[in-house]
């Protein structure tokens, strides 16, 4: 799962696409206006829904389209990483990187490296196993509806 900033990383990934570079197909990107918009709730929800790893990415410091969004994102993620670690989720499953619109190569490298890293850790079982005891009843309800 990748939460990316619209101005830098998304454009960088776009450049990687238009330049026909290869990278792991395991990533699903969510485009957001700024890395400062990336709420911790998104990451929590991603883990809750069974994501094995989460990438957050935005413009380099000083390059933010909104001048300062990525500085706030940096502080927030410093805290969030520690929190995730304290909670017992491996922080290797959480990646933060600065990728500009021109750094298509860095994007492909980060994705490949991170995919490899998460693959070594395996599926995120401990969290995924915490199933809702009523899930199957809900599923039955949905089928009949």
């Amino acid at each position: 799962m990748a939460f990316v900033c619209k101005w830098c990383t998304y454009s960088g990934a776009d450049l990687a696409g238009t330049s026909r570079m290869d990278y792991s197909p395991n990533v699903r990107m969510v485009r957001l206006p700024c890395s400062g918009r990336i709420d911790h709730q998104f990451m929590i929800k991603a883990f809750e829904q069974g994501a094995d790893g989460v990438i957050i990415s935005g413009c380099h410091p000083g390059d933010c389209h909104y001048n300062e969004g990525n500085y706030y994102a940096r502080r927030r993620n410093t805290a969030f990483r520690e929190l995730v670690g304290f909670n017992g989720i491996d922080i290797k499953r959480l990646e933060f990187s600065w990728i500009s619109a021109a750094e298509a190569i860095k994007w492909t490298e980060i994705i490949d490296k991170f995919t490899e890293q998460v693959r070594e850790l395996g599926p995120h079982n401990p969290y995924a196993e915490l199933v809702d005891p009523y899930a199957e009843y809900l599923a039955i309800g949905q089928e009949s509806a």
């Binding site: 911790h40 709730q41 929590i44 929800k45 809750e48 410091p61 000083g62 300062e68 500085y71 706030y72 940096r74 502080r75 927030r76 993620n77 410093t78 805290a79 969030f80 990483r81 520690e82 929190l83 995730v84 670690g85 304290f86 909670n87 017992g88 989720i89 491996d90 990646e95 933060f96 990187s97 600065w98 980060i110 401990p126 969290y127 915490l130 199933v131 809702d132 005891p133 009523y134």
Partner: protein, 297 residues
């Protein structure tokens, strides 16, 4: 000491300087105290202050509650040092104005952790955890202090990692997960930890919002993990460590360990201590260009 506090409260109410004094009164049994809202001069004698006064009263200054909306212009409040840290933090976050509150404080040598453990005096067996390493026995900023206030040097670095946090941090990641998994198994989402927190300020909490439903309201473990992470994340750099969330938890989950850990992280990274200054902004709403970023690729 309590006579001076009562006299001050009487004086404030008689002169109309405050509309209400929030303090402690005798509770339903001898081991308990209860919060009291004194609006009439004749009720002033009900006020007490001793080691049983564990409740954190700044909760009632939070705008989430109906009390600040009653049209009271100025509130008098009796607080321990840790309560006054919470008030200071509320003022730093613009939740409250300094001139809206008259702070009455008293020297505090610690409070009892749970009313059930009260046996007439305070000792190591029943002292609250937060009192062990307390550095605000002489409160920071008060309007009235019943005895002569000694000068305290607060420039010394204050960083105490709670022993349980240190224990948890020494475990491996999956062992830590197992610990929380066992603990959170008991959580049934009564949200007492939220209700008792002086810093949870949202009128509608994110867990109460159903559209979009960020946190599953059902009390299954995945939703419980999400709730406690969200709660801890919302209190990063704001929690003043009053420990009320753990005390309020009916299932005995130590939910404040998250906050203790985040306190250490924030002190480590940004050298910020919540509740000591009304001017310094909390760390997550400000930034420095040269913040540490060793985790970033």
């Amino acid at each position: 000491m309590i006579e001076e506090i009562r006299n001050q409260a009487r004086h404030l109410l008689e002169n109309g300087e405050v509309d209400v004094v929030i303090g402690y009164a005798e509770g339903s049994d001898p081991t308990r105290t209860t919060p009291i809202f004194v609006r009439k001069v004749e009720d002033v004698d009900k006020l007490i202050f001793d080691e049983r006064c564990i409740n954190s009263l700044p909760l009632f200054l939070n705008k989430r509650h109906e009390f600040p909306r009653k049209g009271w212009k100025k509130t008098g409040i009796i607080g321990k040092g840790c309560d006054i840290r919470a008030i200071t933090q509320l003022i730093a976050e613009n939740q409250l104005k300094r001139d809206e509150v008259f702070i009455i404080s008293a020297p505090c040598e610690g409070v009892v952790s749970h009313p059930e453990k009260w046996d007439g005096k305070l000792h190591d067996g029943n002292r609250a955890t937060k009192c062990t390493d307390c550095d605000v026995k002489i409160p920071v900023d008060t309007d009235f202090f019943p005895v002569d206030k000694p000068e305290v040097d607060r420039t010394a670095p204050y960083q105490v990692t709670a022993p349980q946090v240190a224990n948890l941090m020494s475990l491996k990641t999956d062992e830590r997960f197992a610990f929380w998994r066992e603990d959170f198994d008991r959580c049934f989402k009564c949200y007492a930890c939220r209700e008792v927190c002086p810093h949870c300020s949202c009128n509608i909490c994110i867990t109460d919002r159903t559209e979009p439903s960020w946190i599953d309201p059902a009390a299954h473990k995945r939703g419980v993990f999400s709730w406690h992470m969200t709660r801890a994340m919302h209190l990063v750099g704001r929690c003043t460590g009053c420990g009320e969330c753990t005390r309020a938890c009916p299932m005995g989950i130590q939910v404040d360990l998250f906050n203790q850990r985040m306190k250490d992280v924030i002190q480590d990274h940004y050298d910020y201590k919540s509740g000591y200054s009304m001017e310094v902004k909390p760390p997550l709403i400000t930034y420095k260009v040269d913040d540490r970023e060793d985790f970033i690729q």
